[in-house]
């Protein structure tokens, strides 16, 4: 369900920060799925939790780099409306 909300936000929102929110929501949805499936096996295995530790750290790093990019773009241009930022140059 969180995945659906994340995909909806990713495709319909124009603000770059909202898109980052949706990306984080998708990450969380995937993590929840991984942990739930690892827990509900018989017997429950610990590999799911290890994987989720890695993905949480990776998601945090990726969010920080993305935020740095958004901040830079907002310094060059005026607004961070992603439908207007369609050209790669300048």
């Amino acid at each position: 369900m969180l995945l659906g909300i994340g995909i909806y936000g990713l495709t319909t929102k124009r603000n770059a920060l909202r898109i980052l929110f949706s990306i984080e929501l998708i990450y969380n949805a995937a993590n929840l799925n991984i942990i739930a499936f690892a827990r509900l096996r018989d017997p429950p295995i610990v590999t799911g939790q290890v994987l989720v530790l890695f993905t949480i750290a990776l998601a945090a790093m990726e969010a920080s780099v993305g935020l740095a990019i958004i901040m830079l773009v907002s310094r060059l241009n005026v607004d961070i409306d992603l439908r207007k930022l369609t050209r790669l140059k300048g």
Partner: protein, 164 residues
């Protein structure tokens, strides 16, 4: 009892996730995102993943939400979203979302995944740390390298703007 807790946590998480995307103000959206992460952490606690839940609180709420708030403050006040325009893309995403919701609803029935009540050695901290060090020690080192690369990249991005 566990079902009630799960329902409450799931409702809070989903409601604040929707709020994070639809709030007028970006700061309210960031705060709602923090509440979403808190709800997720509670769900992790329910699934006997206490270390991951604490990790989630520390990393996501402690770092990511703080970063987002800083960026929102530095980017400045943005205009709100324009009124809803009916386009084909939004219709397609609405269809996809409803499909996903339907699948999720059918899978979350109580008899779909009967898990063992007692977690045993699959969820305790000792087993987790042993597996992490013994089997996944090399990826752990690579993770620290990637973390260093991300920090250097973010610093370079911040510096390049200052010079140029």
């Amino acid at each position: 009892m566990t079902d009630l807790t799960f329902l409450a946590l799931a409702t809070v998480t989903i409601a604040s996730a929707i709020l994070a995307l639809e709030a007028r103000d970006l700061v309210y959206g960031a705060a709602a995102l923090g509440i979403t992460f808190l709800g997720m952490s509670g769900l992790f606690f329910l699934l006997d993943a206490s270390y991951v839940a604490t990790f989630q609180i520390a990393v996501y709420i402690g770092a990511v939400v703080v970063l987002i708030l800083f960026t929102v403050m530095l980017v400045g006040p943005q205009m709100g979203e324009p009124p809803m325009e009916l386009k084909r893309l939004s219709l397609l995403t609405a269809l996809l979302v409803s499909l996903l919701l339907g699948t999720a609803g059918s899978l979350t029935s109580a008899t779909a995944f009967p898990g063992p009540d007692n977690c045993g050695t699959g969820c305790d901290l000792i087993g987790l740390s042993k597996t992490l060090i013994n089997q996944y020690g090399v990826p752990l080192e690579f993770l620290s390298l990637v973390l260093a690369a991300a920090v250097i990249g973010a610093l370079t991005l911040a510096k390049a703007d200052r010079k140029g």
